[in-house]
């Protein structure tokens, strides 16, 4: 019975389009219940013990959908979850069809030699959204500019960026966890987008202005940065 079901989902995935093959997951695009849908499939990792692998994969899947709901309840944009198949570890999500990643947006602005000021509104919005998310005690766990989407035609920042990829997320109220979350983003941001220190600074200022709990978080961010620097001096 169970194997039939697995076949059903895999047969369906055969008819969809693979858009990203990652280390942990494959992302497909197709039609589900008549709607454009993103399907994120977490596949087994052969090098891990099967039982442990199953447990970790299941946890990632549940964390991802729980955090999406928690964010949406707080008014933070994240894709609608349509269906979760816990036997094949597939999440069926609303496809933001013409959305682009924040990463691609920043790249295209930089490449087109437009002034960085075009991105100020976006940095402000990103800071606000992340502050709101941390105020809900959601730690994203994998903040990058690829894990934030902009709805079509929203370069100007009219709507909030949409957060995705919550597989490593968890719930914590600790300033340290939030500080590390921001540190991960800072690292990813500055290495993906050269010469954006001022822009990232603006994002942090907006974060600070948006969250009452930010002073403790920023203090931790500074500590983590210092630790990171010491480590790289030693290493």
């Amino acid at each position: 019975m169970a194997s039939d079901e697995i076949k059903a989902t895999l047969c369906f995935l055969d008819k969809t389009k693979l858009i990203k093959q990652g280390a942990e997951a494959r992302v497909y695009r197709g039609t589900f219940l008549g709607k454009p849908t993103i399907i994120k499939e977490r596949f087994p990792k052969r090098y891990r013990h099967p039982t442990l692998d199953e447990k970790l994969t299941h946890r990632r899947t549940t964390q991802e959908v729980r955090s999406i709901l928690r964010c949406r309840k707080a008014g933070i944009s994240a894709p609608v979850v349509y269906f979760v198949d816990y036997t094949t570890h597939c999440i069926f999500l609303e496809d933001l069809v013409s959305a682009i990643t924040v990463r691609d947006h920043i790249r295209s602005i930089q490449e087109s030699k437009q002034t960085i000021e075009c991105l100020h509104m976006l940095a402000d919005k990103m800071g606000e959204v992340l502050a709101k998310m941390h105020d809900e005690d959601v730690i994203h766990g994998d903040l990058t500019t690829s894990n934030m989407l902009l709805r079509e035609g929203d370069g100007a920042g009219d709507t909030d960026p949409v957060l995705i990829d919550f597989g490593l997320s968890y719930i914590s109220g600790l300033p340290e966890d939030k500080g590390v979350d921001l540190y991960v983003l800072e690292k990813a941001f500055l290495s993906t987008h050269p010469n954006t220190e001022a822009l990232f600074d603006r994002l942090l200022k907006s974060y600070m202005a948006s969250s009452k709990k930010s002073p403790a978080v920023i203090k931790k961010l500074d500590e983590v940065r210092l630790r990171g620097r010491k480590r790289s001096m030693v290493g």
Binding site: A8, L33, G34, R72, K73, G75, V81, Y82, V84
Partner: protein, 175 residues
């Protein structure tokens, strides 16, 4: 009038939705469904917003049936249970199943491509006026839905009421 759609995950399965208003015999229909004389999910039409909501509930019910993980005794009761934001079964039937005095009824049938004769049998049993599925939103009680699913205004800023409902239905088993 009715709407029939094929399920992408289960291509042998078709879902037909029918909508009735001014129904006079809800109590009798409910009794027949419980005795197995009607095979279909009889749903309180004021609690549903859009055909997509029923498709999501039905797809999940078939998936759970095939994986042996249903929480209720039949596919049709599972569809009703899946509409609810909580895991309380009797509460789900009370809110989403039809009650004796309901006059608007939404019916969901699951069948194969060939085997759609059940539709005529349903039409002969309901004493009420069939209306197009496209009119279903006129029968929804959005205030009651907001309250039952606990949807706040801040959530509706980042999506529709339907989005909020769908998310809760999809995620409730891991809350």
């Amino acid at each position: 009038m009715h709407l029939t759609q094929q399920l992408e995950l289960f291509p042998d399965h078709f879902v037909t939705q029918l909508l009735f208003k001014d129904v006079k015999n809800a109590a009798e229909l409910k009794k027949k469904a419980m005795e197995g004389q009607i095979s279909g999910a009889l749903i309180n039409a004021s609690m549903v917003l859009d055909p997509f909501q029923l498709l999501v509930a039905t797809n999940k019910a078939i998936h759970l049936q095939k994986t042996g993980k249903m929480k209720t005794r039949s596919l049709y009761s599972e569809i009703i249970f899946n509409l609810s934001p909580t895991n309380n079964i009797s509460e789900a039937f009370k809110r989403f199943g039809i009650s004796d005095h309901d006059n608007a009824v939404h019916i969901v049938l699951v069948h194969t491509k060939e085997e759609d004769h059940n539709i005529d049998s349903i039409l002969s049993k309901v004493e009420g006026q069939q209306i197009p599925i496209s009119q279903m939103s006129m029968l929804s009680d959005t205030a009651k839905i907001r309250k039952l699913y606990k949807v706040t205004s801040q959530e509706e800023k980042c999506g529709s009421l339907l989005d909020s409902v769908i998310c809760r239905m999809a995620i409730k088993d891991v809350l």
